[in-house]
Symmetry: C2
Subunit: 193 residues, 2 copies
């Protein structure tokens, strides 16, 4: 890359990071482009040069940070035990939710998507189907009881996990999320075995 | 009540209902007082006469519809089985979340409370303590295993329930919430017994 394109990439990364902080703190409607430009010492024109609208910034954050889980799912598939794979996966996601400002912003943006003028992915659907496929393998491997309603239980696992991260966000800014995550598995596994 | 105070009460109720629809659809920041006034054929001055600010409307909705669960909890306490009481209670809350626009608005307002300029109650805390007290009684009655970490499991039950209502809101506007709620209990009870 030329020095100029290096610099362009650095500016775009800085915009996404500051925008992520604003989106997480104030939501989509509450976040202000002027505030983002000011915090970065950019003119609004310079900001628009990189991203033509608030919607475009939001879409970029969601595409870059909310959607690219497939490689992590593939990594999880290397575990011999499908249940351990699912637990490991939930830990990876919990760690990202706790530590990555871009991901926290993406989660909030997807939650606020009704007020956003660009199309964002529906939440939950992909995770439910991923979870279901691990449960099917767990059933085949005899790790869980045969004959459970797997589609429904996949939905409940994803929903419970989501609820736990929300409660943990509200109670202690997700500091206890990994601990809550392992307690959740303790409770759920008794229902699955 | 005089006819005038009847009319005042009716206007205030109408304001709360239309405001609830706006808050649920557009969030706190996105909801507009002008829009609310226009939908009710009121001047903004007339609206301000009843509620001096958007924050006051939000606070009233939350106080009237998010907080008054204690009588329902007392009703639940009449069940002989503490676990059945908890399941019944979760059904009552699920039904309200599905059917009552004021409650749906209150849930969203509490979620958006960081952007609201009046103090709103912290979510989850009271429900966790209510759930814990039912679990203690269930343990004493031998309905669940002895020695479970009740505080943690109370948190997980509340969190899972919250996640389930969120997923159900996103997937089918809470149409399946009661069904999901009973599946959730099916899954959880195996972990508690």
């Amino acid at each position: 890359m030329s020095r100029r394109s290096d610099q362009r990439a650095a500016t775009r990364a800085a915009i996404l990071e500051v925008a992520a902080e604003e989106f997480e703190a104030n939501g989509y409607v509450g976040a202000s482009l002027s505030e983002i430009a000011e915090r970065l010492d950019l003119t609004k024109g310079a900001l628009y040069f990189h991203y033509p609208s608030k919607g475009e910034i939001a879409k970029t954050i969601v595409q870059k940070y909310f959607e690219p889980w497939p490689p992590v799912v593939e990594e999880a598939e290397k575990h011999e035990s499908p249940i351990k794979a699912l637990m490991w996966l939930s830990e990876q996601v919990a760690t990202s939710y706790r530590d990555d400002i871009h991901i926290r912003a993406a989660v909030r943006l997807v939650r606020d998507r009704a007020s956003i003028d660009v199309e964002l992915p529906a939440p939950f659907v992909d995770w439910i189907s991923t979870t279901r496929s691990f449960l099917e393998r767990a059933e085949a491997a005899g790790e869980i009881r045969a004959g459970l309603p797997l589609e429904r239980f996949a939905l409940l696992i994803v929903a419970s996990w989501f609820g736990v991260q929300q409660v943990s966000q509200d109670l202690d800014e997700r500091k206890s999320l990994l601990e809550f995550n392992s307690s959740l598995w303790e409770l759920l596994l008794d229902g699955l075995r």
